[in-house]
């Protein structure tokens, strides 16, 4: 008869946890949480956090429209106007690999180009280094050459794992620079390429490579002395 009835707590004391143990577990958990929380608070108190605050600019320059200020502003604007390039100039975006040709501020042509990788090459013999950057800033077209010949510098051999040749004649390469070259100083050239599929990417050693048609257009429309802005 008793087998048909559900067992009561009094009959099976081992089925439920003793209240004493339950209390110990609860207290231990609470203590652990308190300790952890306290430790976190202490760490947070020790540490600092990057707080972004709105910027409130304080204008230091004299404002207002009195004559002195207007005269100074006009003089500075005149200086800026005098510094602006006249005629034809080239702008090279070395991140997006775009070359733009302007005449008096009017865009004549946009071309896909290739620019420097930014990689550093180290000579294993002596630690000498070359940085394959397209330079930043303003340069000038110093000379223009049709059917240019490339005199390969030391890095061109070292990069391929070879010692630079002792015979200077082995440095000349008439095929690599394309049909035209515009020299912009310090060995940097705007020239053609055999690697046309790589146009639009940063793959060069600092020079600016163009496709054939774009190179011819730039060559024909850019006089010597034109400014080149590279950024």
């Amino acid at each position: 008869m008793s087998a048909d009835l559900p067992p009561t707590l009094d009959e099976t004391p081992e089925a439920a946890p003793p209240r004493r143990w339950l209390a110990v577990v609860l207290v231990a958990t609470a203590a652990l949480l308190l300790l952890s929380g306290g430790a976190l608070l202490v760490l947070a108190r020790l540490g600092q956090v990057a707080v972004a605050s709105p910027l409130r600019p304080v204008t230091a320059s004299a404002s207002g429209e009195d004559e002195k200020i207007l005269a100074r502003r006009a003089a500075a604007a005149k200086t800026l106007e005098r510094l602006r390039p006249r005629g034809v100039y080239i702008v090279v975006d070395s991140y997006r690999n775009r070359l733009r040709l302007y005449r008096d501020g009017e865009l004549l042509r946009t071309a896909v180009c290739s620019t420097g990788t930014g990689v550093v090459l180290r000579d294993p013999r002596n630690g000498r280094q070359w940085v394959f950057d397209t330079p930043l800033g303003e340069r000038v077209v110093e000379r223009k050459v049709k059917n240019p010949v490339w005199a390969k510098p030391d890095w061109a051999f070292i990069e391929e794992g070879m010692l630079p040749p002792t015979d200077p004649n082995e440095r000349f390469d008439p095929n690599s620079l394309g049909d035209y070259a515009l020299y912009i100083g310090d060995g940097y050239i705007i020239h053609g390429t055999l690697f046309k599929t790589l146009l639009g990417r940063r793959v060069t050693h600092g020079c600016i490579r163009l496709g054939d048609e774009d190179l011819e257009f730039v060559y024909r429309h850019t006089p010597i002395g034109s400014r080149v802005f590279l950024y």
Binding site: V49, V51, P57, R84, L136
Partner: protein, 237 residues
């Protein structure tokens, strides 16, 4: 005799400086504060050199890439804020910055983030003509690319969040997302920083002018953040 001449020269120089100072003082009205440079004047100075410079307008929220006063490119900012490391339990307040001013990059990622390649050994140069002779001549000869080959190392993608140290003691923080300012995120960051301090790691960086912009724009500015780059900060009305 020579001594007398030298002394006379020095006396003349001192007198000239004194007179110039007097003239300048006479031109300026008494009690006038020293003239602060205008933004246009500062830009005229920067445009006098052949270098690229940036103009950050914190009110219009744009970064202009310029040279010789020519606008080469423009980047639109999502936000301009000052990021400073402060104790977690301190109140937030707006930071002030006196403008216009010119900062110069003293150390930026454009100086340091470089891939370095070096062949382990160099073999004697050979033009490759001998090898060509052994090869069979193809029916339609194709131009062999001998010239400036692409560098063998692929260019790593620039980061989207980085700092450049300025001569003003500030940093310029270029980022595609400002640090999270929620309570939980800030608390977690403070705990992490506290743990770093306990372990004796580097102290937090100096305060930074944070320029938040699109991901690609942050990458575009990366190579420009080089030593010597001038940044003109203005607040256009």
């Amino acid at each position: 005799m020579r001594t007398w001449n030298l002394s006379t020269g020095i006396l003349r120089s001192v007198a000239a400086c004194f007179c110039t100072s007097l003239a300048a003082a006479a031109l300026a009205a008494p009690g006038d504060p020293p003239a602060q440079p205008l933004a246009t004047e500062l830009e005229a100075r920067l445009a006098g050199s052949p270098s690229i410079y940036l103009v950050v307008d914190v009110v219009r929220r744009v970064v202009d890439i310029k040279a010789r006063a020519v606008l080469l490119d423009r980047i639109v900012l999502h936000g301009v804020e000052v990021v400073a490391h402060r104790p977690f339990f301190s109140p937030r307040h707006a930071a002030t910055l006196e403008l216009p001013t010119v900062w110069t990059v003293t150390n930026g990622p454009g100086d340091t983030d470089r891939e370095i390649i070096a062949p382990p050994v160099l073999r004697p140069y050979s033009s490759g003509d001998d090898e060509e002779e052994k090869e069979p001549v193809p029916a339609t000869p194709t131009p062999r690319p001998t010239g400036p080959q692409p560098t063998p190392t692929p260019v790593p993608e620039p980061p989207v969040s980085y700092r450049a140290r300025m001569d003003s003691g500030w940093d310029l923080l270029v980022t595609d997302a400002l640090p999270p300012q929620g309570l939980v995120a800030r608390f977690a960051a403070a705990v992490r920083d506290g743990w770093r301090r306990l372990r004796g790691e580097a102290p937090p960086p100096p305060p930074a002018l944070a320029l938040a912009m699109a991901r690609e724009d942050a990458q575009r500015l990366h190579h420009l953040a080089r030593s010597g780059m001038k940044i003109l900060l203005v607040a256009a009305p």
